[in-house]
């Protein structure tokens, strides 16, 4: 039971990351590797703030803003510097490694004895005793749903329409008398903001900041998005954002199941192989759809 709860918890937290990757990969069509740096950026900011005694709830908006700033930088490099999308992300990802070290102070910051968004006086006093073991689950669920609903609402605004248009057909955005570069920068800001927010929540759940925690974040995010969107391709009543969140929990469960039979060192290999399998399966499905049409 504990095992299942922890899978869902982590799946949900990675779901916030997946929402970010959904924006860059699916909406903007931008392979954004900044994610590998902005995920630990959120965690580093969180570690720095919490060790200084800041209320853990303030870390959430601040982590989002820090990630958004990283996204704006990637966007600037790509749009104004005319650097290719993939390279812009790689540059920012590399730069962020050092920045994260500066922010956190060291490569490893334990947060075990500190308050977190999951464990503090407020939560202890509000939550009934019977629900205590599920507090991380409940709070992550609330946060994820909040992010999802806000993102859904945003995508229905005029600004959201323009964001969806720019990934689809940037010529049209220019025709609508809007600078398409700025729209891309905005999209990258929101995506990396969400990613850093995921890092912030993850660090508080794990109660530690690790400089290497972002390595492979993009693979996890992509896997979540691709699983979610390909499994629920034909399910029209589910929003894509919901599908992505469910995909995130499914992926976490797959990795956890695989890890039970292997040593912990095998983690990254399993992640990569699972991702490959998912890619191949989802492509096959695409092929079939075309074959029928």
């Amino acid at each position: 039971m504990d095992f299942a709860v922890s899978i869902i918890e982590q799946g949900l937290i990675y779901g916030i990351l997946a929402l970010g990757v959904y924006i860059t990969y699916k909406i903007l069509d931008f392979p954004d590797l900044t994610v590998d740096g902005s995920f630990p950026l959120g965690a580093a900011i969180t570690a720095a703030l919490i060790t200084r005694g800041v209320n853990p709830y303030f870390t959430l908006p601040l982590a989002f803003l820090s990630g958004a700033a990283a996204g704006v930088c990637t966007g600037f490099i790509h749009v104004k510097g005319k650097v290719r999308d993939l390279l812009s992300g790689i540059i920012m990802m590399t730069a962020l490694w050092t920045i994260n070290l500066y922010i956190a102070g060291t490569a490893n910051v334990p947060l075990f004895s500190k308050d977190s968004i999951f464990k503090n006086e407020l939560v202890d006093s509000v939550l009934p005793k019977s629900l205590k073991p599920y507090r991380t689950l409940l709070i992550s669920f609330f946060l994820v749903v909040l992010c999802k609903v806000l993102l859904d609402l945003y995508l229905k605004t005029k600004s959201g329409y323009l964001l969806r248009a720019v990934g689809d057909n940037d010529v049209l955005v220019t025709s609508l008398a809007k600078e398409q570069g700025n729209v891309k920068i905005l999209g990258l800001a929101i995506a990396n903001g969400l990613t850093a927010l995921a890092g912030c929540v993850f660090a508080q759940e794990e109660r530690v900041f690790e400089i290497s925690m972002g390595t492979g974040a993009i693979v996890i995010g992509l896997a979540n998005v691709i699983i979610g969107t390909s499994i629920f391709r034909r399910v029209t009543f589910l929003k894509t954002t919901t599908a992505v969140l469910i995909g995130s929990v499914i992926y976490k469960a797959c990795v956890a199941a695989a890890l039970r039979n292997f040593e912990p060192q095998a983690m990254k290999l399993i992640t990569a192989v699972l991702f490959l399998i998912i890619l191949i399966i989802s492509m096959e499905r695409k092929g079939k759809v075309k074959g029928n049409a």
Partner: protein
């Protein structure tokens, strides 16, 4: 109204492949003119449209709208008063968004894309009305994704979307070339109606000499970056298909193809 003055345009400047397209190119368009542009491939028709819209830079010369110089104005800013329809029907619409969302997106052109609701529900009736005049039944498919429409349906939508907000210029870049003859005819008639109703100044590049003769009140033929024929109003009406074909052939023979 719209004027190109002394335009020089080189491709690949400074390299061995340098190619001069325009040298001291002039064109003046009056308000309300509907200009058809014909010419063989590589004669500079599309480049001229790109220069008007600011999609490509020029080496020398000035572009005016009225008395205002817009040579340095960025493409997206110029587009506030310009609507453009491309040859490729996919360029004028967003495939992953619904018909309704596309219409709403175009309806907001020139205004702020802020955090207000993307689709203004009170405008849906108007969108339906606009789509209904196409006669393609799109008004009943508002929630269908544009990506699943045919090329002709998409091009019709692209045309509607480009003239949704008050614009002054309509730029048509071989906008019927990718369509079957019947759909092309429909789109062409619709274009003519819109240009008349909205009193737009229009520039249409086309390879269809019949459209160039039938529609619009001015016709130019381009060849190697120069205007070799320029007929207006009555002069244009007096022209016969044979005249223009003859000239076209002479040019082609000169080029050896």
């Amino acid at each position: 109204m719209l004027e190109l003055r002394g335009i020089d345009k080189y491709y690949n400047p400074g390299t061995v492949n340098e190619m001069c397209l325009f040298q001291d190119f002039h064109l003046k368009l009056e308000k309300g003119e509907f200009l058809s542009v014909v010419g063989s491939n590589g004669s500079g028709k599309t480049s001229m449209l790109n220069i008007i819209c600011g999609s490509i830079p020029i080496e020398k010369g000035q572009i005016f709208i009225g008395d205002k110089e817009i040579t340095k104005e960025k493409e997206y800013k110029r587009n506030r008063r310009i609507g453009r329809v491309y040859q490729n029907p996919a360029m004028g619409t967003c495939p992953s968004m619904t018909i309704l969302e596309n219409m709403a997106l175009a309806d907001n052109k020139g205004k702020l894309y802020g955090l207000g609701p993307g689709t203004n529900k009170t405008r849906i009736g108007y969108y339906r009305e606009q789509l209904a005049q196409l006669g393609l039944g799109l008004e009943d498919k508002l929630d269908v994704k544009v990506g699943s429409l045919s090329g002709g349906q998409r091009q019709a939508m692209a045309l509607l979307m480009s003239v949704m907000t008050p614009i002054e210029f309509l730029i048509l870049d071989e906008h019927t070339a990718a369509l079957d003859p019947k759909t092309a005819e429909l789109i062409m008639e619709l274009t003519d109606k819109i240009v008349r109703d909205k009193k737009l100044t229009a520039v249409m590049v086309t390879h269809n000499l019949r459209y160039a003769m039938e529609y619009g009140n001015r016709l130019i033929m381009m060849h190697e970056g120069r205007i070799v024929l320029d007929k207006k109003n009555e002069e244009k009406q007096k022209m016969q298909m044979d005249d223009i074909l003859k000239l076209f052939n002479e040019i082609s023979i000169e080029c050896g193809n």
